[in-house]
Amino acid sequence: MKTNKIRNWLKTWDEGEFEFAINEDVVQPTTTDNAQSQDLEHPWKTRHVDKIEQKEINIFKKLYPFISTFLCLVIVGFLILTVIDLPTFGSANAPAHNEVMDRYIESGMDETGAVNVVAGVILDYRAFDTLGESHVLFTASIAVFILLLSIIDENEPSLEKEITQKDSLLRSTAFIVVPLVLIYGIYVVLGGHIGPGGGFAGGAVIGGGLILYALSYGFDTLDRIFNLKNYRIIITTALCFYSIAKCYSFFCGANHLETIFTTGTPGMIFSAGLILPLNIAVGVVVALTMYGFYSIFQRGRIG
């Protein structure tokens, strides 16, 4: 019901009648008296304005490239002057490498249990930052979904079918590559705290694998798992789990209580407390958002 309402609203906006429809009902009866005088006055007015405007537009079109290039050159000049004064590239004495960095590297592994210091920073010390990032992705996917709801036209032949029916090269390549890509993505997500990787990188890899599968074999199989209902449930569960787990851990840390998530032995797969589950939550959100973006842009719906 609600989606139909939004769809109708967007369609009226597309046809440019959204605001007219309201105005015409109210305004039409009152304009009958002044209609003639307005018609006499109006053409002269618009033509006059159009001439002056056309001149202004022409001047603007001539000047605009020069002014914008000049502005860019001024900005580049100032930035280059700033670069001269910046500390030398790669020097260890630069002010960016201060006590914060030392503290993160010296005690990061003991406090968070993560061998990968970057994972420890973004998912433990600055975990609310990453929570905000996941919500930015989630909000963006919702915004894209609302904007492109009415794009699909069932009567038009869709592009995806033409591609999938003919291209056997893509299909046989995807048959070999997609499982490897998905397994590699899961490996990157799960190994985020003991090596290079993490939820964002692994989620993007998994999303790429799903997109490749959808490109070569069509959406029919994926629609059974990733319909709108499941999509909503999975992403909301992941984000809620993230928020609740991190609130719990911050609450316990601030009040000096013991948490049930221990740091464990650094380097083992089940270590680093909350970092592994949070990586999985972030990876799920990123993978589903990537696939959702593709699905919405391709055919205007998920599932």
Binding site: W13, D14, G16, E19, F20, N23, T31, Q38, H42, S68, T69, L71, C72, I75, V76, L79, I80, V83, I84, L86, T88, F89, G90, S91, A92, A94, A96, H97, V100, M101, D102, Y104, I105, E106, S107, G108, V115, N116, V117, V118, V121, I122, R126, D129, E133, V136, L137, T139, A140, A143, V144, L147, L148, I151, P196, F200, P266, V286, F293, F297
Partner: protein, 130 residues
């Protein structure tokens, strides 16, 4: 001066990338090209951040064999900041592209000036009706 510019050549490249993106954003009237320019500007910001975090001959901040000496590893903080930036730029690009598709459906052109003129004419018509 030239010596310091040569030493900071990565940052100079970042500045040039920023300028390329900014000129693309200003000079092209096509909305898709404007979005491409914005993405190039994002890339310049990431390059600058990562180059600030780099230390010569040091390794990535993944602790090996329990060595927790800060002088061995690269600064881990800019990497986290770049990660944030990448995610935000992906989201912004997706929303901008969706908005572009809506604008194209409504006005049947991607030229920003034409869209502006059509929108102006429409509002003038609306005022005349009043």
């Amino acid at each position: 001066m030239l010596q310091s510019l040569w030493n900071n050549r990565v940052m100079v490249v970042a500045v040039i990338l920023f300028a390329v993106g900014f000129t693309t954003l200003l000079l092209h009237r096509n909305l898709i090209k404007k979005i491409i320019g914005l993405n190039i500007m994002d890339t310049a910001a990431y390059l600058l951040l990562t180059s600030i975090g780099y230390i010569d001959k040091n390794k990535a901040p993944i602790i090996v064999d329990g060595v927790t000496d800060p002088s061995v590893y690269v600064n881990p903080l800019p990497a986290g900041l770049v990660l944030t930036g990448i995610v935000v730029s992906v989201s912004v690009t997706a929303v901008l592209l969706a908005l572009t598709i809506r604008l194209y459906q409504r006005y049947h052109t991607l030229d920003l000036d034409e869209i502006y003129m059509i929108a102006r004419n429409e509002t003038e018509k609306k005022e005349d009706k009043k």
